[in-house]
């Protein structure tokens, strides 16, 4: 249970980070951190010491539930694509505005 406690702290920290960081790259990084923590939370809720991997080897008891991992792989893929897209945009934004600060790109209205 102690791992869930630490994950929750990290989640709150990354939300706070999203709320205070004024740079686009930092925002993307905190978004990644938040997502990683949520994925870790889902995996660790299902974790017990005695569980075996869900591969058939004659033992039909104590399987760990494979569904959360399948779901979280999808979530990781989505997160990776969102990150890639956001980083590509930030390159373009840097070319247009010469800066990646939210405040500076907000002011430059052309």
């Amino acid at each position: 249970m102690i791992i869930i406690f630490f994950i929750s702290i990290a989640m709150v920290a990354s939300i706070v980070g999203l709320g205070v960081s004024k740079n686009i790259i930092k925002s993307i990084m905190f978004l990644n951190l938040l997502q990683a923590n949520i994925i870790l939370l889902f995996i660790s809720f299902n974790y017990h010491e005695e569980l075996v991997p869900p591969i058939f080897n004659g033992n039909l008891e104590n399987f760990s539930d494979p569904l959360p991992q399948a779901l979280m792989i999808t979530a990781i893929v989505i997160g990776a694509s969102v990150t890639a897209l956001a980083l590509m945009f930030s390159i373009k934004i840097f070319h247009h505005f010469g800066s990646l600060e939210w405040d500076i790109i907000k002011k430059r209205i052309d």
């Binding site: 686009i24 779901l71 430059r108």
Partner: protein, 517 residues
């Protein structure tokens, strides 16, 4: 019948990939064939489910508890018809346009497939995947111009919606731990009445906040006007007409399952705040596209007010608003392209230049404000007759502000200016389709159990009186404050919420929901 569910999802995606690979302009007729085919299928679905039957299919033939469910009931069938119709109109509008090449068509068709997938999916994780897909594709479409404005709006849209979706993921975790499955129909079967404990409440709060971000309700609205005003005309119409409704559709899906809670107060407050704020902001704008996008915010608020009473009111309001708002964006898109300016006080003499566009614009703008014989009147009357007291007064004042800002848009008709609009038959034809649908819906009122001309039953003295009152107050507001602005309007016009403050607002939104729910 069950196997036909796959077609609205996969056919547009397959055709999009074919168009992307072969890169042939002559393939455009295939798109129309596809859309007509999808329309026939959707109407067929609607006829089947109209008698209360539900079409259900689990992908791969698994059991309901482990497979991904696809479900069509009457709500989903109506949205399939709406999405096919709007995509068809927009595809007619963008044909042979230089800005829209085959890559653009690929993304549009991909978007249609993923939207249909979102509408029919009955599995909450699948809903998450489809929402993220819609977010990513629509971000690419928003920045398609690749200018500074759209880049700024695009990154805000992408990051903010992703943060909202992260909270959705937390809600999914709670549901999975509690029920062991993510299939909404199965959860509805196993959930006991009155079992509404705190963890489930927390999950629902996360879902409401994520869908609130998607549909731009009060504290988290600021991505919408940015994104909708920065993108291309066709994309603005699509975003404002269809994609912003994903949040409302999601709320309908969620509340249908967890119906033991009482949502009406939450949605009423959210709706009032959103509608009022949006309309005030819209009135203080000068940019046509900004006015229309802030109006989308306020209309979402009115849909929420309708949703707090009854799902049917929200449905009819939502469908009517989709058609009207798409028409407004498409019409103003032509005008803005011609004049090269988006400010209301810089465009002059539209009536002199193009009678057709002027008439379309008048019909669209007044229909949004609730002109009799159009669909806007029906939705406003239904909403007006079902609310009482203080809410009614608020809705009347919101509608008056709508009138005032529509008058602001219509002021571009006046004056003289010599610019000849060359007639683009395709664009004018797509506008004509939307106008005729507005009138058909206004007179025939395509109800779920309607007889023809049942729309005329709303022409009552009370509704007409409400319309006249709103019109009078709106004209007064426009005359008084339309030209010589108050200082506060200038401040409101330049008010934006930066991304980091938006996240703080989102967190406080969740905390407020926890407090009042």
């Amino acid at each position: 019948m069950e196997k036909l569910i796959y077609l609205p999802i996969f056919l547009p995606i397959i055709l999009g990939v074919i168009i992307y690979l072969i890169n042939l302009d002559k393939m455009y007729f295939l798109i129309y064939v596809l859309e007509i085919f999808l329309m026939i299928i959707s109407i067929n679905f609607y006829n089947v489910v109209d008698s209360g039957k539900v079409i259900y299919e689990v992908i791969g033939g698994w059991e309901k508890i482990i497979g991904i469910g696809l479900k069509i009931s009457s709500i989903e069938a109506a949205f399939l018809i709406l999405s096919t119709f709007l995509f068809t109109v927009i595809l007619i509008y963008i044909q042979k346009n230089k800005d829209h090449d085959f890559k653009f068509l690929f993304f549009i068709l991909l978007l249609q497939g993923s939207f249909n997938g979102f509408v029919v999916s009955d599995d909450i994780f699948n809903i998450f995947v489809m929402l993220e897909l819609i977010t990513i594709i629509s971000t690419i479409l928003i920045i398609y111009k690749k200018d500074a404005h759209s880049l700024k709006a695009g990154i805000y849209y992408l990051l903010f919606n992703s943060v909202g979706m992260m909270f959705f993921l937390i809600g999914i975790i709670i549901l999975y731990i509690k029920f062991g499955t993510l299939n909404l129909t199965y959860i509805k079967e196993v959930i006991q009445p009155g079992c509404f404990d705190n963890s489930l409440k927390l999950a629902i709060i996360f879902f409401i906040s994520a869908f609130g971000v998607k549909s731009a309700v009060f504290p988290v609205y600021d991505w919408l006007p940015k994104a909708h005003s920065a993108s291309l005309t066709s994309i603005s119409a699509l975003l404002s007409g269809l994609l912003v409704k994903t949040g409302v559709i999601g709320l309908m899906k969620i509340t249908r399952v967890f119906d033991c809670a009482n949502y009406s107060e939450v949605f009423l407050y959210l709706g009032i705040a959103t509608a009022f704020l949006g309309v005030i902001f819209a009135f203080s704008q000068k940019d046509i596209k900004q006015i229309l996008s802030f109006h989308t915010v306020s209309q979402i608020g009115l849909i929420m007010i309708g949703f707090s009473i009854n799902i049917d009111i929200a449905m009819i309001y939502l469908i009517n608003h989709s058609v009207i708002k798409s028409l407004l964006f498409l019409t103003t898109g032509i005008i803005i392209n011609k004049y090269g300016d988006r400010r209301v006080n810089k465009i002059r003499g539209l009536w002199h230049n193009s009678k057709y566009l002027s008439i379309v614009l008048i019909i669209a703008a007044l229909s949004l404000a609730g002109l009799p014989f159009t669909s806007g009147f029906i939705s406003k009357s239904i909403l007006g007759t079902s609310i009482h007291g203080f809410t009614f007064i608020l809705v009347v004042s919101i509608n008056s502000f709508t009138f005032a800002s529509m008058m602001k848009i219509l002021s571009i008709l006046k004056g003289t200016d010599d610019r000849k609009f060359e007639v683009n038959k395709r664009k004018y034809f797509s506008l004509g389709i939307l106008v005729s649908v507005i009138f058909i819906m206004g007179i025939a009122y395509i109800d779920f159990d309607a007889s023809i001309f049942s729309g005329l039953q709303y022409l009552k003295v009370k509704n007409l009186l409400k319309f006249m009152t709103e019109f009078a107050i709106g004209m007064f507001l426009f005359m008084k404050y339309g030209r010589n602005e108050l200082k506060i309007m200038n401040k409101l016009r330049h008010f934006t919420v930066p991304f980091y403050d938006g996240v703080i607002l989102l967190v406080s939104f969740i905390l407020i929901l926890i407090y009042i729910f």
